[in-house]
């Protein structure tokens, strides 16, 4: 089995890793790099559980081939917290009880962070539209939207302090 080398800037660190060309980015992260925060839901682009940032854009890692990211930059859920310091979204998902089983949560947080990094004041409608590619079977979405709004408020407060 031929393996190819892939160089990536992953969560701010430059790494080299071997993969099979047929592997997806999701498989590279979970099976080769042991970064199991990124989840597999559908493996066909519909659920968003596998969301990561690739070269500045939100993508479904199950629809990206591993060798495609060679020379690129990838950020996963593992790159969202700063050491022990949770990102506001991670804090508000907890405080607003925006998860139950939790399998969708990393994807939602990565996706919501991509929105807030561009539009820190996105309203509820915009949040729902942005997160339409993420599915949750447990929460009914309301608490997720509230958590994102709460994270926006928290970030605004931190900025004025």
């Amino acid at each position: 089995m031929r393996r190819t080398q892939v160089q990536i800037r992953l969560n701010g660190e430059d790494i080299d890793v071997l993969c099979e060309p047929r592997q997806t980015l999701l498989e590279l992260l979970r099976d080769e790099l042991n970064l199991t925060g990124t989840k597999e839901g559908c493996s066909n682009g519909n659920c968003g559980a596998c969301n990561v940032m690739f070269n500045g854009r939100l993508v479904n890692s199950c629809c990206v081939l591993a060798p495609e990211v060679d020379g690129g930059e990838v950020t996963t859920i593992e790159g969202v917290a700063q050491g022990d310091h949770l990102h506001p979204l991670q804090q508000t998902f907890l405080s607003e009880a925006a998860l139950q089983c939790g399998i969708c949560t990393p994807g939602f947080i990565v996706a919501a962070k991509a929105l807030l990094d561009r539009e820190p004041d996105a309203d509820a409608d915009r949040i729902r539209h942005w997160l339409a590619g993420n599915l949750c079977r447990c929460t009914g979405y309301d608490k997720i939207v509230k958590a994102v709004l709460a994270a926006e408020a928290q970030s605004r407060e931190a900025a004025t302090r």
Binding site: M1, R2, T4, E20, P21, R22, T24, S43, N44, G45, N46, G48, N51, R57, L58, V59, N60, C62, C63, V64, L65, P67, E68, D70, A111, A114, H129, W130, A132, G133, N134
Partner: protein, 291 residues
């Protein structure tokens, strides 16, 4: 997924060369169709040719004559974030901003959308209504094809084995014209169209009659269709409800839909009519802004 090679050509010449190395190839633009099809075994290949490092395929610019040149592998988000495209071609934004969700739009290309040749492809009616031309290249040279002639059946397009879709070219739009795309899906977002339609209307100088029109419908036949009979029902007529109704009827008469889990035959024919009428009304509103 079976074993596969990944190749990353850096130029068109390199890309054409990889196609003559004897391996069975598939192209990779945004991968939102092909990666899933490969994994599910619906397609098989020896090599995947990633087109995103060929500069011509990632272009997005207006030429001096006003033509918009879209690299076949340019993603939908690049297109709908482009201020000049937003201002000049709102119908293209209608399509690009509803293909999948945000995660899909950061990858999915219009080239992939048309090459995948789904009857329900959401860029197809818009590109047809806007009069888009496809620039197709191979080692043998290049050729241009109007987009409505590109579709040959579900999953079938007009490309030869050695050809690549290089660019989609949208000519400058006529003065006093407006275009609009819409579709019907059972959810608010993230679904395949049960039916879709786009229209472009060009008004006379005083705005009292329709000088010209292009209407296209999708998901109601084996390929997206240019509805010439609908355009005929519009030409020279007053831009009013009855005219749009007649064109909607003409479009629905062309529909030859299938019955599947997304919709039935009668429903799809009905949708072809209603979506055509709505596309015309909204295209008219956009055209009026130009008078």
């Amino acid at each position: 997924m079976e074993q596969i090679e990944y190749v990353r050509p850096r130029s068109l010449t390199e890309a054409y060369d990889t196609l003559s190395n004897g391996r069975r190839s598939v192209f990779l633009a945004g991968g939102t169709d092909i990666v899933v099809q490969l994994r599910e075994g619906r397609r098989s290949a020896d090599q995947v040719v990633d087109l995103k490092h060929v500069p011509e395929l990632m272009a997005l610019r207006f030429l001096d004559d006003g033509t918009l040149e879209i690299g076949a592998a340019t993603c939908c988000a690049e297109i709908y974030e482009h201020p000049e495209v937003q201002a000049k071609l709102p119908a293209l934004i209608d399509s690009a901003s509803l293909i999948g969700g945000i995660q899909i739009q950061g990858r999915a290309s219009l080239g992939g959308n048309v090459c995948n040749a789904s009857p329900a492809a959401d860029s197809a009616p818009t590109l047809i209504a806007l009069g888009a031309q496809l620039l197709i290249g191979s080692k043998r040279g290049t050729r241009e094809l109007p987009v409505e002639e590109f579709f040959r059946g579900p999953g079938q397009n007009a490309l030869e084995q050695d050809e690549i879709l290089v660019q989609i070219r949208i000519p400058p739009q006529p003065a006093r014209s407006g275009a609009f795309f819409n579709r019907f899906i059972p959810r608010n977002e993230m679904d395949i169209a049960v039916a879709n339609a786009a229209a472009r209307i060009t008004l006379s100088a005083d705005g009292s009659t329709i000088e010209d029109a292009r209407v296209a419908i999708g998901a109601v036949a084996p390929t997206p269709l240019l509805a010439t009979s609908a355009a005929e029902a519009l030409r020279g007529k007053a831009p009013e409800r009855e005219t749009f109704e007649a064109a909607g009827q003409a479009a629905a008469a062309l529909a030859n839909p299938i019955d599947d889990m997304r919709g039935g035959i009668a429903q799809r024919r009905h949708l072809a009519r209603v979506l055509t009428i709505r596309a015309l009304e909204n295209a008219y509103n956009r055209a009026k802004e130009g008078i």
